[in-house]
Amino acid sequence: MRLHAENLSGERGGSAVFSGVGFSLGAGDALLVTGPNGAGKSTLLRVVAGLLPAAEGRVGLEGEDPETWPSVGAACHYLGHLNALQPALGLAENLLFWQRFLGASLLEVDAALAAVGLAGLGHLPCGALSTGQRRRAAIARLLVSRRPIWLLDEPTAGLDRAAETRFDAILARHRDDGGIVLAATHAPLGLAGAVELALPGAG
């Protein structure tokens, strides 16, 4: 499968934040989106996911059966600034819901929690977790159901060093399995051989 973007422009609040962005990613590729604050990194990810309309250009999948992944959004895991975990529900409850709702189960909830170092904490309500733990739980959501494309917006915000290393290993495994990673970040991620896309920003 290939993820194509041609001549993408995005706008926020009526004014263009980036334009003329294009890339083509195959299985195992990674794209690192960098740039100053306000350069449109998050906007780019949301445009790729289809959550925001592109002002210009298009995003599409190639070489994929449209039955399996009818749209780019359907093939994406989106990890935004927010963790998509309800504070009143338990950690395992949250993940189990997303697994059932998203379908295409990959790892069991317990195994996914163990993979991010939260084994044995599944019964805790998400409101009782620390910022870093919540971020890890959100990463565990990427593991409970299968999506070939991961859109990650500042994925390591709040993670400690050990969790970052573990997350790098998770990303490497996803790419080995033929997955595609798009990450917007300031912090260096352990994405070996990633293409860097630097958005210039307004200044």
Binding site: L52, P70, F101
Partner: protein, 221 residues
Amino acid sequence: MGALFRRDLVLGLRAGGGALTGLLFFLAVIATIPFGVGPDLGLLARIGPAILWIGALLAGLLGLDRLFQADRDDGSLDLLILAEARHLLPLTVFVKCLAHWTASVLPLVIASPLLGLFMNMSPPSIVATALTLLVGTPAIAFIGAAGAAVAVALPRGGVLVSVLVLPLAIPVLIFGVSASYAATADPDPFLPPFLILAALTLFLGVVGPVAAALALRFAAD
């Protein structure tokens, strides 16, 4: 979809979910009416169905602003929209409405016979009112979803949701109350207004989620 229903139901019933708030509001409204109106039993019995309906309508509107707000606050809403290829967005909204109705409005319907006694209503009148509430209140949740979706991007959309939804809920109120009255007032037929009420629920069950899905898609900035 079953998973979404279960999750929203659990969220609604747990502390802070708002299911109890609506019920307590309903109880408070109905319990104070006899003190305000006075001890005229005939008058109470006459206005009983209308008061029950108005109380249920306002209590049902209370928790509506949280319908999508909780999902937006934690980012789940983006994922619900992204999953559209797997779960049609209007269907997702429909299931959320059903879960909201089951958690917050069904308790009102179940409590309404007891509160009917407070209003000195006769048994047939109580049964008819509970039945019309059971059939009519889902319509309020469905049309409320459209209002909640429009107001989801606003920081304090609660009042706006009520103001947006109330005019649209008026037909439901009119036919609900007239069917309840028809059960006791002899020459009036019960079935026609009751069937119109059921038709309203079915109609809004389609229109509400579709409109809400449209609004949500444009609110996803």
